[in-house]
Symmetry: C2
Subunit: 178 residues, 2 copies
């Protein structure tokens, strides 16, 4: 079976939910997957085109009163098969996160202690905001009673745990610097 990019599989996966248009896909990712997957329209629309060209989804255009036409993509049997076979394949690349904060701290020697502390405090604040966002998304999902809810909550739990570990690290490192 042909290989597609992870972005393609991500979109294929989202097409199994009630989100069927490019716009709706973008929204779902921004609202629910944002902590581990991002995407731009510059990827979504060309990928949707590819998906339909490959026969993985069918387009149904619904003309909304006033609003622009909405192109809705429905997975074909082949599309679902491609998605499932990707899900079953073991993961090869466990990517190392690129972290600009750590990069700057790595060269901390060339910076004043004061600036180092500001860097960490700023990072900590961002992590705390992120943590609060996760809790907000969690509450929204719990109220939705979606059948995929359990899996979505798993990913949020991951986000919360790793964010908390990073916050703890900030505190510990700030202590060491002072």
């Amino acid at each position: 079976m042909k290989n597609y990019s992870d972005t393609t599989y991500a979109i294929l996966g989202i097409l199994t939910t009630e989100c069927k248009s490019g716009y709706a896909i973008k929204q779902l990712i921004d609202r629910s997957l944002n902590h581990f997957w991002k995407i731009s329209y510059g990827q979504i629309y060309p990928t949707l085109k590819l998906i339909s060209q490959e026969g993985l989804a069918e387009i149904r255009t619904s003309s909304n009163s006033g609003r622009p036409d909405k192109n809705e993509y429905y997975l074909t049997a082949k599309g679902l098969e491609v998605l499932k076979s990707w899900l079953e394949q073991p993961i090869v690349n466990f990517p190392a996160e690129r972290n600009e904060v750590l990069l700057k701290l790595f060269f901390g020697h060339y910076q004043s202690q004061e600036k180092q502390i500001l860097l960490l405090q700023n990072y900590k604040e961002n992590l705390e905001k992120r943590y609060q966002t996760y809790i907000a998304i969690e509450l929204a999902i719990q109220q939705d009673k979606n059948e995929d809810a359990m899996y979505w909550l798993f990913t949020l739990d991951y986000g919360k745990r790793t964010a908390q570990a990073a916050i703890d690290w900030c505190n510990a490192t700030l202590e060491k610097l002072k």
Copy 2:
């Protein structure tokens, strides 16, 4: 002041250490920064060329007996200034890590419980290996007595803490699935 890519700043930073050639830069990154920064020769050599063209470093070629000539790059005053000013700039993009494991789990509904468990167990094993690698690097750095050692250990502590949080999450999620 001109803006360069993070990759350029990373290389500029490494040129402050005793690693001065493309080959040595690659080694340092693979050995010490690998948990939060990766790089390929396809980036290193063109970036070094840019760095010297911009007057941020000077090339000194040393012909090694037998071995290929080694191009060593020494930061100029301008290069050091560019590095320092980047270090002081606050971080704007706190990137969300792209995580293929979470992406697959997000669509867990379309997969058997058995396969989900394998996915998590596999992930956990990889995280544990990673954790052990961090400990090994930590020991190597502690013996080196480098003046930057403190900062390098900070970044490793980050790696260990977040890896441990992810391992804990795997265990908790595996429990919930069973």
